[in-house]
Symmetry: C2
Subunit: 324 residues, 2 copies
């Protein structure tokens, strides 16, 4: 900027004014400055600007894994809103490890991101307290923070979605409905189990529930175990997208009534087409990012808790009747 100034024969501050489009610069002078900028290939050093202004125009996003379509859909939506607001996105995948989640959050904070959107992996977020007290807005998406931290959240209607899935299967004649879900430590898995239980009511049988990380062998074993029961399940409710796919692989073509939580590409190309309870990762990202920018604009109201609706998409697998 100094070089540009002397090249254009003006003071440094005038260059700053031109670069920032501030008013009060004579058009002729401004033109001269711009010429010097082009000639020297100058571009403003944003690190210096950040330091001076105390704002980084950067948002931090912590998710489980960008390579997972749920998270990448959410990421893209967040990114679009962030760019719209003239900011950039620093993002990282926790791999669902609480330690890495924390490291990422702390690194982002050391970089003084203006705000954070976090899909937490861990259960304890007290480490965020200093940052929150310093006024950094933080939004939790998909899962809430651990006890003692009260911040904005954007969650899906997990319980309601599970209830709808189970009722849908019941409506098609099923009474023995199995639930295959992720480990109950994972918030969404626990919520969906809650909805399943609620909808099953008196028909609830814990032998029809399997909660663990989705491995093909594990799912196969669980299905085999349940099939050997006195009253084997006639339908399946799978607790997330990964689980649905794994269950379909484990079923190996057997036509079993199934509703999955989470929509996925190609659900409509399988046979039977897969019925799902769909949530919209993009709108979760959008809502979280918009809420964040509202906070950055100064909205200091009490923590908001948004619950996003889910919708049942009947495609065929959820409408299969029980075996005769």
């Amino acid at each position: 900027m100094k070089d540009v100034a002397s090249a254009a024969g003006v003071a440094l501050k005038t260059v700053s004014r031109v670069v920032n489009g501030e008013p009060g610069v004579h058009p002729v002078t401004a033109e001269r400055v711009r010429a010097a900028i082009d000639r020297l290939g100058y571009s403003r050093n944003e690190s210096a600007r950040m330091l001076r202004r105390g704002r980084t125009a950067t948002i931090g996003l912590v998710i489980g894994d960008v390579a997972d379509p749920f998270y990448s859909g959410l990421s893209r939506a967040v990114e679009d809103i962030v760019i719209e607001h003239g900011c950039l996105l620093l993002s990282g995948s926790s791999g669902e490890e609480p330690g890495r989640e924390r490291e990422l959050v702390e690194t982002f904070c050391a970089r003084r991101v203006d705000g954070l959107i976090v899909v937490p992996a861990g259960e304890d977020h007290t480490y965020l307290r200093p940052e929150l007290e310093a006024g950094t807005p933080v939004i939790f998406a998909d899962r809430p923070p651990g006890a003692g931290i009260d911040v904005d959240t954007v969650l899906a209607d997990n319980v309601g979605g599970a209830v709808r899935a189970v009722r849908h299967l019941m409506g098609h004649g099923h009474h023995r409905i199995a639930f295959l879900g992720d480990a109950p430590e994972i918030f969404t898995a626990a919520e969906r189990l809650k909805g399943y239980r609620e909808a099953m009511g008196g028909l609830y049988d814990e032998r029809l529930v399997s909660m663990r990380p989705p491995s093909l062998e594990g799912v196969r074993a669980a299905l085999a175990r349940m099939a050997a029961l006195d009253g084997p399940p006639s339908a399946l409710f799978t607790g997330n997208g990964r689980y649905t796919v794994t269950a379909l692989r484990a079923l190996a073509g057997r036509r079993v009534a199934l509703v999955g939580f989470d929509d996925f590409e190609l659900a409509d190309l399988l046979d039977p087409k897969v019925s799902v309870v769909a949530q919209d990762p993009a709108s979760m990202g959008r809502v979280a990012a918009e809420l964040l920018f509202r906070r950055l604009r100064g909205d200091a109201g009490p923590p908001q808790h948004v619950e996003l609706p889910v919708r049942l998409v009947a495609r065929g697998s959820g409408e299969l009747p029980p075996p005769a």
Copy 2:
């Protein structure tokens, strides 16, 4: 840092030494400083550090769209390597728009990223020249830069993959093989067309080629047009993952021999299972990031051009015979 210094009763520089783990600080002093840091909840301001050191420990990644599994797989791999090197990733989706690609790159450069990995959307990258001359390493992945820019590239063996796909179909008795690909302005699409042409040899018939953005209607129309030909195609080669899925939808269950470029989740759950030419987005990301860090470590050799192998995965659809 000043506050920590006075709280610990030392000079600012001593705090700096402790924070950076520099040697030559008395353990007792260091302990006192650390106590003050904890008490005050201090964390180093990375913006200031970046400004002073002239390094941002940040890598910029420009891709087409994080929500596309190819790009998100690549992203994740890049991210892992970047984090391993103590850096963070600033990433953005160009939406395949050259203008947005350029904006992202320039914004990243203004932030003085230490290096860039770009999957280009545009054809002209002369705008990168100042940055390259300033010594910022840039790696192009998946597609090469436009004319006049000679930098490191990491590309897949697009031509070879297409040749393999076509020969595979020929090996199963097909002579009339259609190619459905993206617009030929897209490098990978053009390369795959080249491979297709080469493998078709004398059997090449331009009426069996359709190159345009993959819309369901477009693909349907192209298939209908080709089916009405004198010699209709008995097999399909689709030019990328999106295209394969769109073609499968357009086929609506008709069993047609098909090989697709790019693997995709659930390819093995469809009926018939889909044969593909698979590339590995994660290794593309890894190789690009590793090359970048080699450059950052000072490797100043001539531009490298890595070609990643692809492999044919026969699952069933590519082995269907021609209709009798």
